[in-house]
């Protein structure tokens, strides 16, 4: 029974990390209608930046902040110099551009940091807990707390601030938003800043969680999060978060606990195919 709960907690942690990466993808899709595959490369860069800052300064706080700022700049760079000039073409053109950026960043990271798996031997400043025999590691508690905090802040921005109102307006009708006095290009850039900073945090959390950072660590998340935003309903933030949580738990429980001999990474795509066949607007999407 204890294994069951421990695996459930692991599953929720996995789902939280998926949710943090999916979030950026959903936000970007919302304002730009682009499948931002390179988002997973931003997450990889975030993990490396975090590791570098942590090993050179010993401060995790600095690692989180520095990597978030670095990735925010990288994200806006991708938006300004890759997506923006390609927006006048059909959507597959920026998608191809995005895949190219993804592969380039992977290769650049390989050149800079080497093709090895680096370890991320950080101890997060959270306690290890134990409830009637169920052990909960400090890493899991850190993942939960940081995810909860980020979701709360984003919920607040989205529903309680003028910036959030502008982001929602731009994602629903970008040309009319401009006519309402909203600088929609600026709002798009801010969306990239938020999504990329959150991706950096997710990258660091994954690095610490698995104690691994390597150049292609974004490859599987890149495609898995694409499946997740389709399952959640394209552009639906809550749908993406819920789909991520369900996937994290399902992967861990079905394969890690029930020992069903099934390729773990295929689950997201089976869910995506199912959604496309029976409910193409996604679990939380609105048909448009």
């Amino acid at each position: 029974m204890n294994t069951f709960f421990e695996q459930l907690l692991n599953g929720i942690a996995m789902g939280s990390i998926y949710a943090l990466v999916t979030l950026g993808l959903t936000l970007v899709y919302g304002v730009m209608r682009i499948l931002h595959v390179a988002h997973a490369a931003v997450y990889t860069v975030g993990a490396y930046m975090g590791l570098f800052l942590y090993s050179s300064t010993g401060s995790l706080l600095l690692a989180f902040f520095g990597a978030s700022i670095g990735c925010a700049i990288l994200g806006v760079g991708i938006e300004r110099f890759v997506y923006f000039p390609l927006m006048k073409y059909p959507p597959f053109v920026p998608l191809i551009g995005s895949i190219a950026v993804m592969l380039s960043i992977e290769e650049i990271m390989r050149l800079i940091a080497g093709p090895y798996i680096l370890t991320f031997p950080a101890k997060l400043p959270f306690p290890d807990l134990s409830f009637s025999g169920i052990y909960v590691s400090s890493t899991i508690i850190a993942v939960y707390s940081i995810t909860a905090l980020i979701l709360l802040v984003l919920w607040y921005i989205s529903s309680r601030t003028e910036l959030g109102l502008a982001m929602r307006a731009v994602s629903q009708d970008i040309s009319i938003s401009g006519a309402m006095g909203i600088n929609s290009h600026l709002i798009v850039s801010i969306t990239f800043v938020i999504g990329s900073a959150v991706a950096a945090i997710a990258g660091i959390l994954v690095g610490i969680y698995y104690n691994q950072v390597y150049p292609t660590m974004g490859a599987v998340p890149a495609y898995k999060t694409l499946a997740l935003i389709v399952v959640g309903g394209l552009g639906s933030v809550s749908g993406g978060v819920i789909a991520s949580m369900i996937l994290g738990v399902a992967e861990t429980m079905l394969i890690g606990y029930a020992n069903i001999p099934f390729p773990r990474d295929a689950l997201a795509f089976i869910a995506m195919i199912g959604v496309l066949m029976w409910r193409s607007e996604g679990i939380m999407g609105s048909s448009r």
Partner: protein
């Protein structure tokens, strides 16, 4: 001159939608542009708002050339639009839609003042303020769109096919409101309409547009008795 548009050309790809249109508005005037579907009326309005760029020509607002200025800055200068088919934000509530019309104008007092006035003019919006705009009927969305454009107290209101999809009774009501805004509040309005009779009736001057060029212009009531206009646009 309040608004002056000179030598306006607009193209979509190889197709020229507007080929050399000139018009002007004096402060406090209500002017309409009438014409058939596809004559280029909406294109002209979107150009004045800055939603689409012209290929050639100049747009001058209050003596300042705004041709290269982006739409959001024009909105902040006091130009607002009621777009074709209302274009309210479907997944924002009625209240939030009105907030977008007041974006970056940080004056709570003025907002509540304007809001209560608009709720008086369009009572249905008050009753539905917490509902998503997508749940409103076509006529209600049109009213929301007008209110959203008016909440910032604009200097120039651009109104695109506001009668489309409205019940006849509501059309009269909406035109009555526009007329009152113009007469009592001195609001300058540029109206683009297929419903030529209703718009000429409340306008001071009008332009008649045919396939991207202006073919007639003048006093709205004189145009109403012009045999050509009668035949083509007023249907008698």
């Amino acid at each position: 001159m309040f608004l002056e548009v000179k030598g306006l050309h607009v193209s979509y790809g190889d197709i020229e939608a507007v080929s050399g249109v000139d018009f002007y508005l004096e402060k406090g005037e209500l002017v309409s542009i009438i014409g058939a579907n596809g004559a280029g009326k909406t294109t002209i309005l979107n150009c004045v708002m800055g939603i689409i760029p012209p290929k050639e020509g100049a747009i001058i607002f209050k003596g300042k050339e705004i041709t290269g200025i982006p739409d959001f800055e024009r909105a902040r200068m006091g130009i607002r639009i009621v777009p074709e088919r209302s274009r309210v934000f479907p997944r924002l509530t009625v209240y939030e839609n009105l907030l977008t019309g007041f974006y970056r104008i940080r004056d709570r007092e003025k907002f509540s003042e304007r809001l209560s006035w608009l709720y008086e003019v369009f009572p249905v919006l008050r009753n539905r303020q917490g509902q998503l705009a997508s749940t409103l009927s076509g006529g209600e969305q049109q009213q929301l769109s007008i209110a959203r454009a008016l909440i910032s107290n604009p200097e120039l209101l651009l109104v695109d096919e506001v009668s489309m999809g409205l019940m006849p009774k509501l059309v009269d009501q909406v035109f009555e409101i526009l007329k009152r805004l113009n007469e009592e509040h001195g609001l300058t309005i540029l109206l683009v309409e297929q419903n030529a009779y209703a718009s000429l009736n409340i306008s001071k001057r009008a332009y008649v547009l045919e396939t991207g060029t202006c073919v007639l212009e003048g006093d709205a009531h004189e145009l109403m008795s012009n045999p050509e206009v009668k035949e083509v646009y007023l249907g008698n």
